[in-house]
């Protein structure tokens, strides 16, 4: 009897259990996707609380539909490859493919895509030597990435400086060459032509290099009014650059909010992650900084990217500040090996001379200073923007060539740029030369630009501490 009834009872209990659990599980399964969508929508719709209202992204509702950027570009590449399978001599399709490779290069930071883009653009021009602006612009952008600005401008000229992309290239190349007036003329022409997110962001960069802070903010605000749905990367880039602008002026809360907003738009955006990590370092939040740097590397999936050296150097700086000299040295050695490898391998030759020089100066050994100075003396033959000149001044002062360093800093100051670190360096150099009044004025200017410019910031820039 018992042996008969037990299985029946068990069977009934199991039946009831099934009848209760199945609908419950079913309801959860049914309701999970819409709820997940609701939750994700809520997340997407939430800009950082501290973000200035005028910097909020206007198209949050459409964010949920964004595909993975790499996958989207991959699809684009496949589309053009398919077209080329039908007509392998199509210059226009190959130019479009080159453009897609270039997008992938920018999105991933993987150097191999630059080379593919270059080869495709060159072949495109061979197949269609006229009416082929797309291929010329790809070659121009690649030349610019190599810091071969003369070649970049030559290609842009071939396209014609009435073409928006060519004008944009004129802005960025002239900025890098330190020809701020020419960059300004081009930026004004571009904004006059089409005052949109891209052109206004470029003009903001030019104005930032001239120290026209109020106008910089005006441009970014106008850029964000003009932004369109479907250009998320541009929107994220604009906010990252604006965040960097705020960070350089010690306005960390707004800077961080902007970086987080950029990451809300493009969740793995390396530029925003790196700027955020730098910001956390400045504020002494080393664990957070390491976390952001790690994300940059994690997202590349182990593939070598142009961001690797930046991450290694950033992490090394964090370790320095934490007092972990051994780990710091290991990371700098790793970064150095990578940068040297890039110098000799010719893998695109994407101009990391300045990075190597900065790294060598950070290491601070006398034998490294000589090399760093030699590297920078070569670099300034092609690039004379404020950051490059500042690195040269750093190398010159490290080599004890204070007069020359002073002259370089004077050139930076004349450009109008407002950068606390640069003014502090100018002050330090002036003080070494015994120009105390000038030195004081520089230090004061540095504080005025960024009131939070402290020892940690100076250490990160390889500057000493000067007390008056």
């Amino acid at each position: 009897m018992k042996t008969k009834t037990k299985p029946e009872i068990k069977s009934d209990i199991f039946s009831w259990w099934l009848l209760i659990v199945v609908p419950l599980v079913g309801m959860v399964v049914v309701n999970l996707p819409p709820n997940l969508r609701f939750i994700s929508d809520k997340l997407y719709n939430n800009s950082p609380a501290n973000l200035d209202a005028s910097y909020r992204y206007h198209f949050s509702e459409s964010l949920r539909n964004n595909p993975n950027k790499k996958e989207a570009i991959q699809q684009e590449i496949a589309f053009y490859q398919q077209r080329l399978a039908v007509d392998s001599r199509s210059g226009l399709n190959r130019a479009a493919l080159a453009g897609s490779y270039l997008k992938m290069a920018r999105a991933t930071g993987e150097g191999g895509w630059f080379l593919l883009a270059e080869q495709a653009a060159q072949r495109s021009i061979a197949d269609l030597p006229f009416d082929n602006k797309g291929a010329l612009l790809v070659l121009a952008r690649i030349a610019e990435a190599r810091h071969d600005f003369a070649t970049a401008l030559r290609f842009a000229k071939q396209v014609g400086f009435d073409n928006e992309e060519a004008i944009a290239l004129s802005v960025t190349s002239h900025l890098a060459m330190g020809k701020v007036s020419e960059a300004n003329v081009a930026a004004e022409a571009l904004v006059k032509r089409i005052p949109n997110l891209g052109s206004l962001t470029l003009r903001a960069l030019v104005r930032e290099s001239q120290g026209r802070d109020a106008e910089v903010l005006q441009d970014y605000r106008q850029a964000m009014v003009a932004e369109e749905p479907g250009e998320v990367a541009g929107s994220a880039r604009a906010r990252s650059l604006l965040g960097r602008f705020y960070a350089r002026r010690g306005q960390f809360v707004q800077a961080k909010a902007l970086f987080l907003e950029a990451l809300r738009l493009v969740p793995r955006y390396p530029l925003a992650l790196i700027y955020l990590a730098d910001l956390e370092t400045r504020q002494g939040n080393y664990r957070e900084a390491e976390g952001y740097y790690s994300k940059v590397s994690a997202y590349s999936g182990g593939v070598e990217t142009v961001f690797d050296r930046i991450v290694d150097r950033g992490m090394a700086r964090v370790k320095d500040l934490q007092g972990d000299a051994i780990e710091s040295r290991r990371l700098r050695d790793k970064a150095e090996a990578g940068l040297r490898q890039e110098q000799v391998s010719g893998s695109g030759g994407f101009g990391h001379r300045r990075d190597l020089a900065s790294l060598l100066l950070e290491k601070g050994r006398s034998q490294d200073v000589t090399e760093a100075l030699a590297l920078m003396q070569e670099e300034v033959k092609i690039r004379r923007d404020a950051v490059t000149l500042d690195t040269l001044a750093w190398a010159l002062s490290a080599a004890g060539e204070w007069q020359k360093a002073d002259r370089v800093m004077a050139e930076i100051v004349r450009s109008g740029i407002r950068d606390a670190g640069m003014f502090y360096r100018a002050g330090a150099i002036a003080r070494t030369l015994g120009k105390d009044a000038e030195s004081r004025a520089y230090f004061q200017k540095s504080k005025e630009i960024d009131p939070s410019f402290d020892d940690r910031a100076r250490q990160a820039l390889g500057l000493g501490s000067y007390e008056f």
Partner: protein
């Protein structure tokens, strides 16, 4: 309480079925971003304009209705959701023409303006339709049913909005469609370059080799069905000049014209110098014949002269052709069958509007060269040539094929 196996299975089956039935369908649209700052926003780039009597596209359509179509966002890739600009104004300009043989005045008697809101989480944008007559604006933001005028997102059935405005009901569609244009673009460039002495002299490719460059692409399309009476507004005009523009914010609180398009191949086909093209884009048609536009006209005539030689004969008066094509408007005589080559006026201007499948390239080249010339590409394509052939047009408004 005991349950038989059969009952248990039945209940379970019903539950599973109910769960399956209640599971909401998930439609995920995608948003394509090109990964870099877009300097010249493609959303404000015009590709084509079509104007035709609807009954000539669809014999079952109502008498007297016209269809206007304006395409933008060139080279939109398959399966990507693109949006209309939320800061620009997309406009059809219409002149009521009393004399079909008259020179176009470029006067905007009526403007149909479309402005778009930010997209919602389904990728839909709300549309504001404005009608401007004699400086008076009438704005419509809702359909006859009181709902918002909405775009059609990707992977959705076409949203056809019936919009009551200016005393008439307009039917408005806005969304992605397959790009209906067809041309062996690259070979056209080669032929033009050869004609202008910039490259080797070449003709067009054979039908089995000619490549339709726009095959496989989508465009953002605005289509509007308009009763002729709405356009006539009591004037009795049966002929209309039509052109499209896109105006963008000028940064000073206003708008400036950024793009203009009417006839295919006129601005980008005849004007080679980019700053002339920009100048052409920034002026209204009434200035096409002005002294200020003389350099632009001269270039168009020079290109015409060069193209005329494609058939080896100098047999076209470029100034006469320029007169037939400029000012650049799409003229439609609604008393005649629509079609790009269906009718000309005394000046040699084409006055039949344009249907989606019209071979405008062959028609234009024929006019420019003075003898029949074909790029050997057609809408339906050449059998056996995989590089040609668009999807069939839809049988009803907005007619353009579903997006790729």
């Amino acid at each position: 309480m005991k349950l038989t196996k059969k009952i248990r299975r039945t209940i379970l089956a019903i539950e599973v079925a109910l769960i399956a039935l209640l599971t909401p369908a998930i439609i995920v649209a995608s948003d394509h971003d090109d990964g870099e700052v877009d300097i010249k926003g493609r959303a404000v780039n015009l590709t084509d304009v079509f104007v035709y009597r609807e009954k000539d596209q669809n014999p079952g359509a109502a008498e007297g209705d016209l269809v206007f179509t304006m395409n933008s966002n060139p080279r939109s890739l398959a399966r990507f959701q693109y949006y209309f600009s939320t800061t620009a104004l997309y406009q059809f300009h219409i002149t009521q023409v009393g004399d079909v043989n008259s020179t176009p005045t470029g006067r905007s008697d009526i403007i149909l303006r479309f402005a778009f809101s930010p997209p919602n989480n389904r990728g839909m944008q709300a549309v504001a339709v404005t009608v401007i007559r004699n400086g008076t604006e009438t704005v419509a933001k809702t359909t006859v049913n009181g709902g918002l005028i909405a775009t059609t997102p990707l992977n959705s059935n076409p949203v056809l909005n019936t919009v009551p405005v200016g005393g008439s009901n307009l039917t408005v569609f806005a969304g992605l469609r397959e790009d209906p244009f067809f041309l062996d673009v690259e070979q056209f460039f080669r032929a033009r370059a050869g004609a202008l002495g910039m490259g080797p002299k070449v003709g067009f490719r054979e039908p089995n080799q000619a490549i339709d460059f726009t095959k496989g692409y989508n465009v953002n399309s605005i289509a509007v069905r308009v009763p002729k009476a709405f356009l006539q507004a009591g004037t009795g005009a049966n002929t209309f000049d039509v052109w499209s523009t896109v105006s963008i914010r000028d940064g000073a609180g206003g708008f400036k014209q950024f793009e203009r398009l009417a006839r295919p191949l006129i601005n980008e086909g005849l004007i080679v110098t980019p700053d002339f093209l920009e100048a052409f884009n920034n002026i209204p048609p009434r200035l096409d014949l002005s002294p200020a536009a003389a350099p632009v006209r001269q270039e168009a005539v020079a290109t015409l002269n060069a193209l005329d030689l494609l058939d080896g004969r100098d047999n076209v008066d470029p100034n006469a052709i320029a007169g037939a094509f400029l000012p650049d408007v799409m003229r439609i005589d609604t008393t005649k069958r629509s079609g790009y080559a269906s009718a000309t006026n005394a000046q040699g201007s084409l006055i039949g509007g344009r249907l989606p499948m019209d071979d405008v390239v062959d028609i234009t080249l024929g006019a420019l060269v003075g003898s029949p010339v074909s790029d050997n590409v057609s809408y339906n394509g050449t059998p056996g040539n995989p590089a040609q052939g668009h999807k069939p047009l839809e049988p009803s408004f907005p007619y353009l094929a579903e997006p790729n």
